[in-house]
């Protein structure tokens, strides 16, 4: 029997960490609060920048996890870090020789930006809602009509002092571009507007997709943040922004306003802090350093991987899943 490693969270980072550790002879145990593995990714439809269906990525991974015989506990929400493991809600503990925290991020609650009326106005939705609509195969306004005009708003819950988020959530820009294109494919006659402050295309193929969005899909990019949304007649939404490139205010009504919600530190981070770990100013867990110690917590036997320490895309989270296995193996002398 190999050494046991408790993995908190069964998203892509957690699954990759478990697979890599298993390959090195350890016995990983995934403790997942949801009722299935896959994390936030499982709620998505297609992935940027290639429009790869989620199941093409998650399917093989889940199969490998199953084939590797990795022990999985779902419906187990970690409540506290305890000596040599974790305690979960409703009693029960999981112990191991090391713990890897891969509990990811929380989606920003768009209701906090009250000026956009999410949860109050018809046809103000988030990127998460739109992804669910894509999955359900039915995208329409609340009134049941096909949208003629759609606005996407970047940086909702990111780069915003008013909601205590100075950080950039990194993946939202490309998400907005991806979803704008998907909407244009679904509704070729529709006008699509993306309101942005900066377009941050950090990954391979991202900038190229942005260019295609402009050239091939006629997506209109307006540099300016929407200051407020209001309900107009017939369920339409009136928005106001400045088109900062022409230096004039701009207003329009749209059939659907999509708020591109950012990432924030997970709610469970507070319980890790109570267990002696450090939460950074941005609400995510603070790794030992951003370089060679990026998967180390600074506390012996506790490691990080994935978006628990910062906004990350799937590729980066998978890489950290592998990297953390390296450091755990070193620590456990596997």
């Amino acid at each position: 029997m190999g050494k046991q490693v408790v993995i908190v969270g069964g998203g892509v980072a957690g699954m990759q960490a478990a697979l890599s550790l298993k390959a090195r002879g350890a016995e990983p145990v995934i403790v997942e609060r949801g009722d299935r593995l896959g994390g936030k990714v499982a709620g998505w439809h297609k992935l940027f920048p290639t429009f790869t269906p989620v199941e093409d990525v998650l399917g093989p991974m889940l199969q490998r996890v199953q084939e590797a015989g990795i022990e999985i506990h779902t419906g187990a929400e970690v409540e506290a870090l305890v000596d040599g493991g974790v305690a979960v809600k409703g009693g029960g503990r999981f112990s191991g020789d090391a713990t890897v925290i891969c509990s990811g991020f929380d989606v920003f609650d768009a209701r906090r930006k009250e000026e956009y009326g999410y949860g109050i106005y018809d046809n103000v939705i988030t990127t998460v809602d739109l992804e669910r609509m894509f999955n359900e195969g039915h995208v329409a306004t609340v009134q049941g009509t096909a949208p003629h005009r759609v606005a996407f708003l970047h940086c909702v819950g990111s780069r915003d002092e008013k909601v205590g988020a100075h950080h950039c959530s990194k993946v939202c820009c490309i998400t907005g571009v991806k979803q704008a294109i998907e909407m244009k494919k679904l509704f070729p006659a529709a006008e699509i507007y993306n309101f942005y402050m900066d377009i941050r295309m950090f990954g391979p193929g991202y900038e190229e997709l942005y260019r295609r969005a402009q050239l091939e899909y006629n997506i209109n990019f307006v540099r300016g943040r929407i200051s407020e949304a209001s309900q107009a007649m017939g369920g339409k939404v009136q928005i106001k922004a400045e088109d900062t490139l022409i230096g004039r205010p701009l207003k329009m009504t749209v059939d659907m306003l999509v708020l591109i919600v950012g990432m924030k530190g997970g709610a469970s981070n507070a319980s890790y802090a109570a267990g002696g770990l450090v939460v950074a100013d941005n609400g995510f867990m603070q790794p030992l350093d951003p370089f060679c110690g990026n998967v180390l917590s600074g506390k012996e036997g506790i490691f990080y991987a994935g978006a628990v320490t910062a906004p990350k895309n799937i590729g980066d989270s998978l890489n950290e899943g592998s990297a953390v296995a390296d450091r755990v193996a070193e620590y456990l002398k596997l």
């Binding site: 009250e114 000026e115 009326g117 209001s230 309900q231």
Partner: protein
């Protein structure tokens, strides 16, 4: 509208024992409103309110027009608190939104910079020999009417219901900028979806219609109105609101700020004169009311005693819809029966005799 968030934004509003801080401009614009407030609080609800002849203007308009210094206005505010202390009261009831903004701003300044408060205490003492304590509770008088809205409903003689059709009347509410845009926590319902006026309309049987430019400022803007040549900005903003709300066919506009009520009412006349545009039914204007006037109508007070004849846009269409009995002949008579004269006919009033 699923305006459910308002419940998350509550503030404490005192239930009794108010020290009334009147507004300088409301008594001219809506001369019956403050009188109605005292009557509602004292006679209808049996609460204690002290209407102090010794208090002064808060000097807020001078402050916002750059002619009264910050230090001066804080000392004026300190004097009002000192008078409240003399009266043995702790709950300040502020009638004007500008004043309310001033009081909240001054209290917040003193909280953040205690040395400023000390200096003001010294100023006041040197100037008047007075000392003061700060109010335990500070509320705008629309907060207080909101607080008592169910009690008013219990005594209602008329509801905001169309007598002929049985349908709820449609009100749009307009909140003064300095009610909650300076300190969102000071507003019932917060700043984006304030509930202070909407709650009254709903409690009294009406329905609130939201419209795209609801949050937009009326355009008063102090120096933008006070300088004649700048009034185009002021009226342009009111027009933007009126154009946005008109398609929803509101039966009335309810305001809690003297400037907003004044301008949404009077600018309808000016726009009609300049452009020939009117925004209400049958080519007339949309009646604009203060919350005390609306409460007074609901309680069955005589519309002319409430001062509604002083409005630019005639209120009779609303009175008729509510089924209120009134004497048209008494509109321009003083309480002693003396005729005060009637204004010339204007486009916004066409058809009302």
């Amino acid at each position: 509208m699923k305006r459910n968030t308002w419940q998350e934004y509550q503030k404490e509003v005192a239930d009794d024992n108010y020290y009334y801080l009147r507004s300088c401009i409301r008594q001219n614009f809506f001369p019956g409103s403050e009188k109605a407030f005292v009557k509602i609080i004292r006679d209808e609800l049996g609460r204690n309110i002290f209407d102090d002849p010794a208090h002064t203007s808060c000097t807020g308009i001078g402050y916002h027009s750059d002619i009264v210094l910050h230090e001066t206005i804080m000392t004026v505010v300190a004097r009002q608190f000192s008078l409240m202390q003399d009266a043995g009261l702790e709950n300040a009831a502020v009638s004007c939104i500008t004043s309310f903004g001033i009081y909240t701003e001054v209290l917040e300044t003193w909280r953040e910079f205690p040395e400023v408060e000390e200096r003001i205490r010294e100023n006041l003492y040197k100037a008047t020999g007075r000392e003061f304590y700060k109010p335990r509770n500070l509320a705008h008088t629309s907060d207080i009417i909101f607080h008592h809205r169910e009690a008013i409903r219990d005594r209602a003689k008329y509801l905001l219901v169309n007598r002929r059709t049985g349908e709820p009347l449609r009100g749009v509410e307009h909140i003064g900028c300095h009610y909650a845009k300076i300190f969102p926590k000071e507003g019932i319902g917060g700043v984006e979806f304030p509930y202070v006026l909407a709650g009254m309309i709903e409690a009294w049987g009406g329905t609130v219609v939201d419209y795209p430019e609801r949050r937009h400022c009326c355009g008063f803007g102090f120096r933008n109105y006070l300088v004649q040549a700048n009034r185009g900005y002021s009226i342009g903003n009111s027009q933007k609101k009126l154009e946005s709300m008109a398609p929803y066919k509101p039966d009335f506009i309810l305001t809690n700020c003297p400037g907003c009520g004044m301008f949404l009412d009077k600018w309808q006349y000016t726009i009609a004169e300049i452009e020939g545009t009117t925004y209400g039914e049958d080519g007339k204007g949309i009646p604009v009311l203060t919350y005390e006037e609306l409460a007074g109508l609901v309680l069955g007070y005589d519309p002319w005693e409430l001062g509604l004849q002083m409005h630019q846009v005639d209120v009779e269409p609303l009175l008729n819809k509510m089924g209120i009995e009134y004497d048209p002949a008494a509109k321009y008579l003083m309480p002693n029966g003396k005729y005060i004269g009637r204004p010339a006919q204007a486009a916004v009033n066409m058809g009302v005799e």
